[in-house]
Amino acid sequence: MKHMPQDTMLTTDITRPDPLLVAQGLTVTFATDQGPLRALDAVDLTLAPGETLAVVGESGSGKSVLSLALMGLLPGTARIEADSLTFEGRDLTAITERDFRALRGTGMSMIFQEPATALNPVRRIGDQIVEAIRLHEDIPVRKARTRAIEALAATGIPAPAERAEAFPHQLSGGMRQRALIAMALVHRPRLLIADEPTTALDVTVQAQILDLIRDLARETGTATLFITHDMGVVAEMADRVAVLYAGRLVETAPSAALFSSPEHPYTVGLLGSMPQMNARGEPMLPIQGTVPDPRVMPPGCHFHPRCPFAAGACLTDRPALRQVRPGQMSACHNAPLIETLGGAT
């Protein structure tokens, strides 16, 4: 289906007229043995400088593909199409690989889910940060090393000079994630993409890392694209939230709005299935069924097979992302939910 941008005019935040990142109709298709596989389907996103946007989605929602697509790190089997994809006004689909490389690490940086594997296991932490520095700045190794230790210190790593000499396996998971954060922020990028950075960590360490990311981003004025599946983390981190389901953006809203009045059934289900939203001893509210196989996506609304409200057009027509209230958009034929369905039940 042809994407129609006029329906989805982004009116997110008029106080920030120059968005840092704009993606419109971002579509990513992988060539596989079984034919093309659409991992992202016409996704629209904007991100203002300094803002934290949380992208929420379960496995198969395409959230990691989104982050890699923005970083230009997708493998060769992936094809990216977009009506528009710009970073600080530069068209990322037209940029040369060399220019993109110069942008990575300086303009935009990324931290990953598995700190255990995201660091090169055979090189010292300090050396890896020094490399990150010297890739973009022509300064002597000694100076770079001092900078690297400062960056480590800024993440709250105790004894940073010693840690710089350590190999990744000699550090705990939390320390490794700190080192990765230090490496990602060493050039004070305008955008930090954090792809499930705390999923592999224990909850007490997660709390530390979340605080760290928030503080550092605030301090450096870095915008954050925070990818997670945990609504609790979203509530804690995000200014604005985008909910992905099966490759499509189903809802986007300021954090407060999303948690007080979600307008897409999937978002409701996601929040409702959290234990905190259920009374103790009562059965929890599950979302029935499972995420669809990306090779056999259902027609119409991708969520309709699992949606308790699905009827009529949901089964045949793709719902467009439309504004429900200022700053909040939902791709649901029934939005706003309570107004549309409240009387029916």
Partner: protein, 348 residues
């Protein structure tokens, strides 16, 4: 509580990590003096962060690992071994991808324990399989399929059906929902509770996620570095946690309400290596309240009343009341709407 179904006394588990003749002996104490009981039809949750020993304990209960020291009583007796134990205790594991033999169809997987224990014959097996599949909410047709053709949630349902096939009295659910998508976790948690309600099976629910534990368990045991640091009824423990670690754990769990976690009891550092345990209280290196006594004396798990706690300062620390944030009204009505529609759909 009547006589417990399962009783653990002084369980200790050591692993020798040393390999070879010259390597010095490296003993890792994974569990140290665990006393615990699970009542008939009860759900006991074991919570703690990675490396605390909760899974090791689960495996010892299931008979997959021997305890180095300690007594296990099942129905007041020594539990059986091999086939006998299988009739008493089953386990559902975390990884729904690795827990099912990929070379066997779902039907074979579920029939296997029933056939092995003489609970079904070749002739009656299909019926038994169908019954178990119904019990876990899977269509009968799934029996012909192989695990790789199922989704994670479906696989976990198959694993549960297989565990139920021997009619056990206790099921160890070892992080049984952790690997699933959030939207599916609730399905499986519901299923376990439903089965418990129907069959009266006891659950040893092992998890690192506090919210879910809070929701589904009757009693909770919080573990830290091979020890139980606090244990008691879930409602009490979550409302007024007494051990600093329990408190930190609860406060570190993000709540789905923006701006709800301002007074976080942040813990510094990370769990120490179990190969180099701190002296005295194991938690003292990260405890904001640690005193000299904590460094010298290892606090025992004690307490009058339902809650037991292993902390010198348990009585002197100010009470910590956990205030569960309330969801916004509009969200609550959206959820209610959803629940009603879902219920209507299921009914139809």
């Amino acid at each position: 509580m009547t006589a417990p179904l399962l009783e653990l006394r002084g369980i200790r588990k050591e692993f020798n990590l040393a390999r070879g003749f010259f390597a010095s002996k490296r003993i890792l104490t994974a569990l140290d003096g665990i006393d615990l009981a699970v009542g008939q039809g009860e759900t006991l949750a074991l919570v703690g962060e990675s490396g605390c020993g909760k899974s090791t304990l689960g495996r010892i209960v299931a008979g997959l690992l021997p305890a180095t020291v300690g007594t296990i009583l099942f129905d007041g007796d020594q539990p059986g071994r091999g086939k006998a134990r299988a009739r008493q205790i089953q386990i559902v594991m975390q990884d729904p991808f690795g827990a099912l033999n990929p070379k066997m169809s779902v039907g074979e997987l579920i029939a296997e324990p029933a056939l092995l224990h003489g609970l079904a014959t070749r002739r009656t097996a299909p019926a038994r399989v169908a019954e178990l599949l119904r019990l876990v909410g899977l269509p009968e047709g799934v029996a012909q399929r192989y695990p790789h053709a199922l989704s994670g949630g479906q696989r976990q349902r198959v694993a549960i059906a297989r565990a139920l096939a021997t009619d056990p009295k206790l099921i160890v659910a070892d992080e049984a929902v952790s690997a699933l998508d959030v939207s599916v976790q609730a399905q499986i948690a519901n299923l376990l509770k439903e089965i418990q309600a129907r069959t009266g099976v006891s659950l040893l629910f092992i998890s690192h996620g506090l919210s879910l534990v809070h929701h589904i368990s009757d009693r909770v045991a919080v573990m830290y570095l091979g020890r139980i640091v606090e244990e008691g009824p879930a409602a009490d423990l979550f409302a007024r946690p007494r051990h600093p670690y329990t408190r930190a754990l609860i406060s570190a769990t993000p709540e789905p309400v923006p701006g709800a976690a301002p007074d976080r009891l942040a813990l510094t550092g990370e769990v120490p290596s179990p190969l180099a345990l701190p002296t005295g209280c194991r938690f003292r290196t990260r405890c904001p309240h640690a005193t000299k006594l904590c460094a010298e004396v290892d606090p025992p798990l004690t307490g009058e009343g339902p809650v037991r706690v292993a902390c010198h300062l348990a009585d002197s620390l100010p009470t910590y009341h956990v205030q569960k944030p309330r969801p916004a009204a509009r969200l609550q009505s959206a959820i209610d709407l959803y629940r009603a529609a879902a219920a209507a759909q299921t009914a139809a």
